[in-house]
Symmetry: C2
Subunit: 236 residues, 2 copies
């Protein structure tokens, strides 16, 4: 039977071999939600880079460029980290270079996996269906917050574990913790997360609309971004 | 207001400054449960060491010595990691050198804290009362399993957070995750943990009696082991 596990932060990834596995990268607020929205709006490719400098260099070569640090758009870039900014004709068939505080770091740490795909509540059902269809072990990698665990990514990991529990073996503590949290949160994730530090911090940035969208619009898009040759493209 | 946070594994401790704080070390199955039982039975001191070799060297100097690796007693030592082996006159007023897979490593990583104390369900109420009485921030450090998070240590962390929620500020995601898990587990922790990997592994070692004791005998002992000059002694 296939196996599923959850790594709660990239800072623990050394303990989780990714070789031969499908790694699902999760950064609900907001990197992987943005990526999902961008591919739903027919972006050609997204190049995830770890530093603002690399992102700037690609912008100077003609790419559209997105940079977020500490929840805010970095000055001089075309996009920050709001999914709504990708829901426009502007991105169609374009190449975007992207760096975010946590999400792109997680992607670049997972490159030795068999496959790296991008998950969010927006494409949850697409992700789940794909994982069921493949004959591979799965690791859900939560991007967390600067190395620490966070609730919203763990909730999504729990949703995936919960959906796959009859198809996959799961006897790892972190995966079970995520599943219990997801089951406990129930329908109203906004309420469940209302005491969460990251959530409070993001609220101060005035992005309630983003948060609502990233947390509550399950299965809106039937698209799976996948890493190929260092670039994210739509899984065909 | 004082602040409480939870570090889910020693592998993430670099992200949690311990300076000026009281750190509560948690290794429910079974290092910190053993330490609590030993001090309840009037051991004089426990010297936590990180390696089997250091422990052997102290044994050769005349200490009683306890070594556990992968859940089993290491050959040639006086004790393994069962709390019952410390519930005897043999330990009274003795010095014991101890090394365990996870617990003693966590202790030795926390040495720069203001104070390091040892928590388990066995002395939960003593720990909670002490933390309330002190004017210091608190970090609960779960020993985990070889760097990974585990359910039983997280449950205990959640119990502490839950008890202190009116006395301490707590807006960190890992602390909230622990609290939700604790609340969700309810009275029957054995049942809650029955699917847990570590739990299953320990069950294979035939230590059901230890597990029952470490998980279910809340507040049995009114003793707090505290680190002083590299040695654990009873808090006076």
């Amino acid at each position: 039977m296939k196996n599923i596990d959850v790594c709660l932060t990239p800072d623990l990834l050394d303990l989780y071999p990714v070789e031969g596995k499908i790694v699902v990268i999760v950064d609900i607020l907001r990197a992987t939600s943005c990526m999902t929205a961008a591919f739903a709006n027919e972006v050609k490719e997204i190049i995830p880079v770890s530093t603002v400098e690399e992102c700037k260099a690609l912008q100077q070569k003609g790419y559209l460029a997105a940079a977020e640090r500490n929840g805010e758009k970095v000055e001089g870039f075309d996009f920050g980290n709001s999914p709504f900014s990708y829901m426009t004709e502007t991105v169609k068939e374009k190449s975007i270079a992207m760096t975010t505080t946590n999400g792109t770091v997680a992607i670049n740490k997972s490159k030795t996996a068999d496959q790296v795909i991008i998950g969010s509540f927006l494409n949850k059902q697409a992700i789940i269906g794909y994982l069921v269809s493949q004959n591979k072990d799965v690791l859900v990698l939560c991007a967390g917050w600067k190395g620490r665990v966070n609730l919203e990514d763990t909730l999504f990991a729990g949703a995936v574990v919960d959906a796959l529990q009859n198809e996959f073996e799961c006897h790892h503590d972190s995966a079970m913790m995520a599943q219990v949290l997801y089951q406990n949160a129930g329908e109203d994730r906004l309420k469940f997360l209302s005491n969460c530090s990251h959530f409070k911090r993001l609220n101060r940035l005035n992005i309630q609309k983003d948060i609502d969208f990233c947390l509550m619009e399950d299965d809106k898009y039937d698209v799976i971004p996948v890493l190929k040759g260092g670039k994210l493209v739509a899984l065909s």
